[in-house]
């Protein structure tokens, strides 16, 4: 056996890769799995802040690769969940400090130690992205219901298919059902129509995510948060459970839902 290595990527920046990694890590670990999150964004590290672990960093991923510390020393244990770890990125280096082979070796070492390795890919399709997908068994592509984000997701899916990483699964993040209803935002169906890959979850727009990000408290820890629930569901689907998609439209009236049906 061994861990599954899952890379979260998107092409475009700012769509919620880091948020997704932090929340999926929290959700998987809360279910009792051993999880390591790796920040692949060397030079622009963020995952430590979103997970609330920034002031615990001593060693980072480049230190491990260049042999300045043991793997164990760079694994920061989460303050809430004892089975959740973070390997932070180096802030003073850049993407060329790591090669795809380094990532493969690092993940091979982690496979025996944990159940899940989640890699937070940087935006873009260059070296950092290549590093992040080198070791992946599975890739999740995050997009927003925005044409520019969807275009970049399409490009990334094409590259993943060409590199034979298999067809990735899709997370649609920050869907605003009110705007979709007013036809001001792409719907999940519109996004899927273009990308034509398997959907693993839709996360509703939620101000709580921003608050959680700033405080280092991923929303998946909050049992009342709808976005948190969406991330917990994605974590369950990752582990192979069959969880139906949330009804994001629950506060719309019966009539609008009927007209939406009629429109199809």
């Amino acid at each position: 056996m061994g861990a599954q290595v899952v890379t979260i990527t998107s092409g475009k920046g700012g769509v919620g890769k880091t948020t997704a990694v932090a929340n999926l890590g929290v959700a998987l670990a809360a279910d009792g799995a051993r999880v390591v999150c790796i920040d692949g964004d060397i030079g622009l590290r963020n995952l430590d802040i979103v997970m609330g672990l920034e002031n615990r960093i001593v060693y980072d991923v480049v230190d491990v690769i260049e042999g300045r510390c043991r793997l164990r020393q760079a694994m920061i244990r989460d303050k809430r969940l004892p089975e959740l770890f973070l390997i932070p990125a180096a802030q003073t280096r850049d993407k060329t400090a790591v090669t795809p082979s380094d990532m493969v070796r690092l993940c091979e070492e982690l496979r025996g130690e944990v159940d899940w390795v989640l890699i937070d890919s940087p935006a873009g399709i260059e070296r950092g992205f290549k590093n992040s997908i080198a070791a992946a068994d599975r890739v999740l592509v995050v997009t927003n219901p925005e044409i520019s984000a969807v275009r970049d997701a399409d490009r990334v899916i094409g590259i993943l298919e060409a590199e034979e990483k298999g067809t990735p699964s899709l997370i649609i993040n920050r869907l605003n059902t009110t705007m979709v209803r007013q036809h001001d935002m792409l719907s999940a169906e519109d996004v899927l129509d273009l990308l034509a890959i398997k959907l693993i979850g839709v996360v509703p727009e939620d101000e709580g995510v921003i608050v959680g990000t700033n405080r280092g408290n991923p929303v998946a820890l909050d049992p009342k948060s709808r976005a948190g629930q969406a991330f917990r569901n994605i974590a369950k689907r990752l582990s192979g459970q069959d969880v139906p998609l949330m009804d994001l439209d629950s506060n719309s009236s019966l009539w609008t839902r009927l007209t939406n049906l009629g429109r199809k």
Partner: protein, 228 residues
């Protein structure tokens, strides 16, 4: 130059490029390979490469260094074929394939223009995603969509059995009798020879259509089944 070409032989296979190494030390072979790549950058950029290393023995460090060096030059090493079990094991450890015969998703073949006849076409049996470019000196048939940001360029005609939302250029070398057929061309950018047309602003005409060049102007008509 002739030296590096005898040490390193490159041929196109279904899965990309196959590089066969001759008889020399690894230092010489590596230098010859890099020289080939440096001198023909455009040819190698983005290529998927398999290397046949013969009986050379590679350890993890050599092979991962080679993969990184190639990756820095935009070359994707996916397989290492070898007679040495040590090298095979090393390749497998790095997640590289050790056989090139197994079926792979199709890659774009580019044949030299002189070998392609007027009736020849290339068959693309999948959706073309953003950033993909298909270029062929004959005709092109796409079974799937052409997404925004994808490009299809043919010297002859193009048929898109799917939705066209990217850019399609028929008769790219100036052939004015080239045509574009599509199940839904309404959101694509269509060019024939030197005339371009963006259809995305137009309403209607979402059904199967044919676009041809008539008196230097692009002309769109409904593609009728019973038309002879």
């Amino acid at each position: 130059m002739s030296d590096s070409q005898t040490l390193v032989q490159i041929k196109g296979i279904r899965d990309g490029l196959l590089v066969s190494l001759g008889n020399a030390t690894w230092e010489e072979l590596r230098a010859a390979l890099m020289e080939q790549i440096e001198t023909r950058q455009a040819f190698f950029y983005g290529a998927r490469v398999a290397i046949d290393v013969g009986s050379q023995i590679f350890h993890v460090n050599d092979l991962s260094e080679l993969r990184d060096a190639l990756s820095d030059r935009g070359v994707n090493l996916w397989a290492v074929v070898s007679e040495s079990p040590t090298t095979e094991k090393t390749a497998q450890l790095l997640g590289l394939a050790t056989r090139v015969s197994k079926p792979r998703p199709q890659e774009l073949v580019s044949l030299p223009a002189e070998e392609v006849g007027e009736g020849d076409a290339i068959w693309i049996g999948r959706t073309l995603r953003s950033g993909t470019r298909v270029e062929f000196p004959g005709n092109i048939v796409v079974l799937g969509d052409v997404n925004p940001g994808a490009e299809v360029v043919a010297d002859g005609s193009i048929l898109i059995w799917g939705r066209t939302r990217g850019s399609v250029h028929a008769g790219a070398k100036g052939n004015q009798s080239a045509v574009v057929y599509g199940l839904d061309l309404s959101a694509g950018q269509i060019r024939i020879a030197d005339e371009g047309k963006s259809l995305s602003d137009q309403d209607g005409e979402t059904g199967p259509a044919k676009i041809s060049l008539q008196d230097g102007v692009l002309h769109i008509e409904v593609w009728q089944v019973n038309q002879s």
